[in-house]
Amino acid sequence: VPAAPPAPLGCDDPESVAAAEAAVNYINANSHHGFKFTINRIGDIRVVPQGPNNDIIFLELDLLETKCPILSPTPLANCTVRSFAEHAVEGDCDVKLQKVNGTLSVLASKCNSHADSGEDIRKLCPDCPLLAKLNNTEVLETVAAALNAYNSKTTDSYLRLLEIGRAKIQYHPAHTVVAEFAVGATNCSAEEAKANAGACQLLPEDQSNFGFCTAVMVKRPSQDLQVDCQLYGHQVPAPHVPLPSQDTS
Protein backbone atom coordinates (compact mmCIF):
# COMPACT_ATOMS: atom_id res chain seq x y z
CA VAL A 1 0.00 0.00 0.00
CA PRO A 2 1.65 3.28 -1.05
CA ALA A 3 2.67 5.45 1.88
CA ALA A 4 0.07 8.06 2.75
CA PRO A 5 1.00 11.50 1.36
CA PRO A 6 2.52 13.78 4.04
CA ALA A 7 -0.02 15.98 5.80
CA PRO A 8 -0.16 19.45 4.16
CA LEU A 9 2.11 22.00 5.83
CA GLY A 10 0.38 24.33 8.25
CA CYS A 11 1.04 28.05 7.86
CA ASP A 12 2.59 28.24 11.33
CA ASP A 13 4.73 25.13 10.98
CA PRO A 14 8.47 25.76 11.42
CA GLU A 15 9.17 24.92 7.78
CA SER A 16 6.56 27.45 6.65
CA VAL A 17 7.96 30.15 8.94
CA ALA A 18 11.49 29.48 7.66
CA ALA A 19 10.30 29.80 4.05
CA ALA A 20 8.40 33.02 4.87
CA GLU A 21 11.46 34.54 6.54
CA ALA A 22 13.63 33.67 3.54
CA ALA A 23 11.01 35.29 1.30
CA VAL A 24 10.70 38.53 3.29
CA ASN A 25 14.50 38.86 3.56
CA TYR A 26 14.71 38.47 -0.23
CA ILE A 27 11.95 41.05 -0.76
CA ASN A 28 13.65 43.61 1.48
CA ALA A 29 17.08 42.93 -0.03
CA ASN A 30 15.74 43.48 -3.53
CA SER A 31 13.66 46.56 -2.82
CA HIS A 32 15.17 50.02 -3.25
CA HIS A 33 12.38 52.28 -2.09
CA GLY A 34 10.44 53.09 1.05
CA PHE A 35 10.69 50.98 4.16
CA LYS A 36 11.40 47.41 5.20
CA PHE A 37 8.42 45.04 5.53
CA THR A 38 7.94 42.29 8.08
CA ILE A 39 5.64 39.27 8.24
CA ASN A 40 2.22 39.86 9.73
CA ARG A 41 0.67 36.57 8.66
CA ILE A 42 1.40 33.63 6.40
CA GLY A 43 -1.75 33.51 4.30
CA ASP A 44 -1.19 30.21 2.56
CA ILE A 45 1.49 27.71 1.64
CA ARG A 46 1.51 25.04 -1.03
CA VAL A 47 4.35 22.55 -1.52
CA VAL A 48 4.84 20.79 -4.89
CA PRO A 49 7.41 17.98 -4.61
CA GLN A 50 9.82 17.81 -7.57
CA GLY A 51 11.76 14.79 -6.46
CA PRO A 52 13.81 13.63 -3.46
CA ASN A 53 14.71 16.64 -1.24
CA ASN A 54 13.47 19.01 -3.94
CA ASP A 55 10.26 21.01 -3.44
CA ILE A 56 8.73 24.07 -5.04
CA ILE A 57 6.94 26.19 -2.41
CA PHE A 58 4.23 28.76 -3.16
CA LEU A 59 3.66 31.27 -0.38
CA GLU A 60 1.04 33.97 0.17
CA LEU A 61 2.31 36.53 2.68
CA ASP A 62 0.62 39.43 4.47
CA LEU A 63 3.33 41.96 5.36
CA LEU A 64 3.36 45.20 7.35
CA GLU A 65 5.61 48.20 6.81
CA THR A 66 8.17 48.91 9.52
CA LYS A 67 9.78 52.23 10.46
CA CYS A 68 13.16 51.15 9.08
CA PRO A 69 14.04 52.76 5.75
CA ILE A 70 14.98 50.17 3.13
CA LEU A 71 18.61 51.40 3.12
CA SER A 72 18.94 51.21 6.89
CA PRO A 73 21.43 48.63 8.21
CA THR A 74 19.10 47.92 11.18
CA PRO A 75 18.28 44.20 11.33
CA LEU A 76 14.61 43.54 10.50
CA ALA A 77 14.06 41.98 13.92
CA ASN A 78 14.80 45.40 15.48
CA CYS A 79 12.47 47.32 13.18
CA THR A 80 9.28 48.58 14.79
CA VAL A 81 6.07 47.91 12.88
CA ARG A 82 4.12 51.05 12.09
CA SER A 83 0.98 50.96 14.19
CA PHE A 84 -2.55 51.10 12.85
CA ALA A 85 -3.03 54.63 14.25
CA GLU A 86 0.17 55.79 12.51
CA HIS A 87 -1.53 54.86 9.24
CA ALA A 88 -0.11 51.42 8.58
CA VAL A 89 0.92 50.20 5.15
CA GLU A 90 0.40 46.57 4.28
CA GLY A 91 1.97 44.41 1.62
CA ASP A 92 0.51 41.36 -0.11
CA CYS A 93 3.11 39.09 -1.65
CA ASP A 94 3.07 35.90 -3.68
CA VAL A 95 6.44 34.18 -3.55
CA LYS A 96 7.76 31.07 -5.30
CA LEU A 97 10.69 29.34 -3.63
CA GLN A 98 12.68 26.19 -4.18
CA LYS A 99 13.96 24.01 -1.36
CA VAL A 100 16.78 21.68 -2.34
CA ASN A 101 18.42 19.58 0.37
CA GLY A 102 16.99 21.96 2.96
CA THR A 103 18.34 25.13 1.28
CA LEU A 104 15.74 27.72 0.35
CA SER A 105 16.06 30.09 -2.61
CA VAL A 106 13.53 32.53 -4.03
CA LEU A 107 12.63 31.98 -7.68
CA ALA A 108 10.06 34.77 -8.06
CA SER A 109 8.09 37.25 -6.00
CA LYS A 110 5.26 39.66 -6.72
CA CYS A 111 4.13 42.23 -4.17
CA ASN A 112 1.56 44.98 -3.86
CA SER A 113 1.54 47.47 -1.01
CA HIS A 114 -1.14 49.93 0.03
CA ALA A 115 -1.87 52.20 2.96
CA ASP A 116 -4.80 51.30 5.14
CA SER A 117 -8.00 53.17 4.36
CA GLY A 118 -8.24 56.62 5.91
CA GLU A 119 -11.84 55.96 6.98
CA ASP A 120 -10.78 52.97 9.07
CA ILE A 121 -8.14 55.09 10.80
CA ARG A 122 -10.61 57.92 11.41
CA LYS A 123 -13.14 55.50 12.96
CA LEU A 124 -10.57 54.43 15.52
CA CYS A 125 -8.66 57.70 15.87
CA PRO A 126 -10.54 60.80 14.63
CA ASP A 127 -7.59 63.15 15.22
CA CYS A 128 -4.83 60.93 13.79
CA PRO A 129 -3.14 62.56 10.80
CA LEU A 130 -3.35 60.56 7.58
CA LEU A 131 -0.67 59.92 5.00
CA ALA A 132 -0.29 62.72 2.46
CA LYS A 133 0.57 62.24 -1.20
CA LEU A 134 4.34 62.41 -1.67
CA ASN A 135 4.02 65.06 -4.40
CA ASN A 136 1.86 67.29 -2.20
CA THR A 137 3.13 70.89 -2.46
CA GLU A 138 3.40 71.38 1.29
CA VAL A 139 5.36 68.12 1.59
CA LEU A 140 7.77 69.12 -1.18
CA GLU A 141 8.27 72.56 0.38
CA THR A 142 8.93 71.03 3.81
CA VAL A 143 11.52 68.58 2.45
CA ALA A 144 13.32 71.29 0.46
CA ALA A 145 13.38 73.68 3.43
CA ALA A 146 14.53 70.94 5.80
CA LEU A 147 17.37 69.77 3.55
CA ASN A 148 18.52 73.36 3.01
CA ALA A 149 18.44 73.98 6.75
CA TYR A 150 20.42 70.81 7.45
CA ASN A 151 23.02 71.49 4.75
CA SER A 152 23.46 75.08 5.93
CA LYS A 153 24.34 73.92 9.43
CA THR A 154 26.30 70.72 8.84
CA THR A 155 30.10 70.63 8.74
CA ASP A 156 29.99 67.25 6.98
CA SER A 157 29.22 66.29 3.44
CA TYR A 158 26.52 68.09 1.46
CA LEU A 159 23.45 65.83 1.33
CA ARG A 160 21.23 65.24 -1.68
CA LEU A 161 17.63 64.02 -1.60
CA LEU A 162 17.18 60.39 -2.72
CA GLU A 163 13.44 59.99 -2.18
CA ILE A 164 10.57 61.04 0.07
CA GLY A 165 9.44 57.93 1.93
CA ARG A 166 6.41 59.12 3.86
CA ALA A 167 4.59 62.29 4.82
CA LYS A 168 1.66 63.41 6.94
CA ILE A 169 -0.18 66.68 7.29
CA GLN A 170 -2.14 67.62 10.39
CA TYR A 171 -4.44 70.65 10.60
CA HIS A 172 -5.56 70.55 14.23
CA PRO A 173 -4.56 71.67 16.82
CA ALA A 174 -1.60 73.04 14.81
CA HIS A 175 -1.01 72.98 11.05
CA THR A 176 1.95 70.60 10.89
CA VAL A 177 3.75 68.76 8.07
CA VAL A 178 5.90 65.74 8.93
CA ALA A 179 8.09 64.33 6.15
CA GLU A 180 10.51 61.40 6.17
CA PHE A 181 13.04 61.22 3.37
CA ALA A 182 16.18 59.34 2.32
CA VAL A 183 19.39 61.23 1.56
CA GLY A 184 22.84 60.46 0.14
CA ALA A 185 26.22 62.05 0.85
CA THR A 186 27.86 63.83 -2.08
CA ASN A 187 31.48 64.51 -3.07
CA CYS A 188 31.20 68.08 -1.74
CA SER A 189 31.50 69.53 1.69
CA ALA A 190 28.59 71.73 2.70
CA GLU A 191 30.94 74.73 2.33
CA GLU A 192 31.91 73.81 -1.25
CA ALA A 193 28.26 73.30 -2.12
CA LYS A 194 27.51 76.92 -1.27
CA ALA A 195 29.58 77.92 -4.29
CA ASN A 196 28.16 75.40 -6.76
CA ALA A 197 25.74 72.77 -5.43
CA GLY A 198 24.99 71.62 -8.96
CA ALA A 199 28.46 70.13 -9.22
CA CYS A 200 27.95 67.93 -6.15
CA GLN A 201 27.35 64.31 -7.09
CA LEU A 202 26.29 61.35 -4.96
CA LEU A 203 29.28 59.27 -3.90
CA PRO A 204 29.97 56.17 -6.03
CA GLU A 205 28.54 52.90 -4.72
CA ASP A 206 31.86 51.73 -3.26
CA GLN A 207 31.94 54.85 -1.03
CA SER A 208 28.19 55.45 -0.75
CA ASN A 209 26.89 56.90 2.48
CA PHE A 210 23.13 57.00 2.78
CA GLY A 211 20.98 58.34 5.54
CA PHE A 212 17.49 59.25 6.55
CA CYS A 213 15.90 62.47 7.75
CA THR A 214 12.71 63.42 9.53
CA ALA A 215 11.43 66.96 9.21
CA VAL A 216 8.64 68.59 11.23
CA MET A 217 7.37 71.91 9.87
CA VAL A 218 4.86 73.75 12.08
CA LYS A 219 3.06 76.35 10.00
CA ARG A 220 0.46 77.61 12.47
CA PRO A 221 0.08 78.99 15.09
CA SER A 222 3.77 79.92 14.60
CA GLN A 223 6.40 78.87 12.08
CA ASP A 224 8.95 76.31 13.23
CA LEU A 225 11.12 73.78 11.43
CA GLN A 226 12.93 70.84 13.03
CA VAL A 227 15.05 68.43 10.99
CA ASP A 228 16.97 65.40 12.17
CA CYS A 229 19.19 63.36 9.85
CA GLN A 230 20.99 60.12 10.57
CA LEU A 231 23.72 58.91 8.21
CA TYR A 232 24.44 55.17 8.17
CA GLY A 233 28.09 55.40 7.21
CA HIS A 234 29.46 53.37 4.32
CA GLN A 235 27.72 49.99 4.07
CA VAL A 236 29.56 47.21 2.31
CA PRO A 237 26.83 46.00 -0.05
CA ALA A 238 25.77 42.41 0.73
CA PRO A 239 27.21 40.06 -1.90
CA HIS A 240 24.36 39.69 -4.36
CA VAL A 241 24.02 35.99 -5.10
CA PRO A 242 22.26 35.87 -8.48
CA LEU A 243 19.48 33.29 -8.36
CA PRO A 244 18.51 31.22 -11.37
CA SER A 245 15.68 32.74 -13.42
CA GLN A 246 14.50 35.00 -10.69
CA ASP A 247 11.70 37.36 -11.46
CA THR A 248 10.61 40.01 -9.04
CA SER A 249 7.97 42.58 -9.68
Binding site: P8, L9, G10, C11, D12, D13, S16, T38, I39, N40, R41, I42, G43, D44, I45, D62, L64, V81, S83, F84, A88, E90, D116, D120
Partner: protein
Protein backbone atom coordinates in the same frame (compact mmCIF):
# COMPACT_ATOMS: atom_id res chain seq x y z
CA UNK B 1 -22.83 -12.22 -0.56
CA UNK B 2 -21.73 -8.79 0.51
CA UNK B 3 -24.61 -6.45 1.21
CA UNK B 4 -23.71 -2.85 0.64
CA UNK B 5 -24.98 -0.94 3.64
CA UNK B 6 -26.44 2.50 3.10
CA UNK B 7 -23.76 5.12 3.64
CA UNK B 8 -25.83 6.97 6.21
CA UNK B 9 -26.40 3.79 8.14
CA UNK B 10 -22.72 2.86 7.88
CA UNK B 11 -21.68 6.32 8.84
CA UNK B 12 -24.05 6.19 11.78
CA UNK B 13 -22.57 2.96 13.02
CA UNK B 14 -18.97 3.85 12.15
CA UNK B 15 -19.12 7.36 13.60
CA UNK B 16 -16.38 7.44 16.16
CA UNK B 17 -17.82 8.88 19.35
CA UNK B 18 -15.89 12.08 20.06
CA UNK B 19 -14.57 12.54 23.57
CA UNK B 20 -16.30 15.24 25.57
CA UNK B 21 -14.60 18.62 25.04
CA UNK B 22 -13.13 17.58 21.69
CA UNK B 23 -11.68 20.67 20.01
CA UNK B 24 -10.99 20.29 16.28
CA UNK B 25 -7.42 21.36 15.35
CA UNK B 26 -7.17 24.89 13.90
CA UNK B 27 -7.18 25.02 10.10
CA UNK B 28 -3.59 24.82 8.79
CA UNK B 29 -3.91 28.20 6.99
CA UNK B 30 -4.04 31.16 7.21
CA UNK B 31 -1.49 31.37 10.02
CA UNK B 32 -1.57 33.45 13.17
CA UNK B 33 -1.52 37.25 13.01
CA UNK B 34 1.74 38.55 14.46
CA UNK B 35 0.95 42.26 14.79
CA UNK B 36 -2.58 43.37 13.94
CA UNK B 37 -5.23 42.69 11.38
CA UNK B 38 -5.81 45.47 8.89
Amino acid sequence: SVAKRAVAEAAQHDKVPRPVGFVPPPPPCPGKIRHFDI
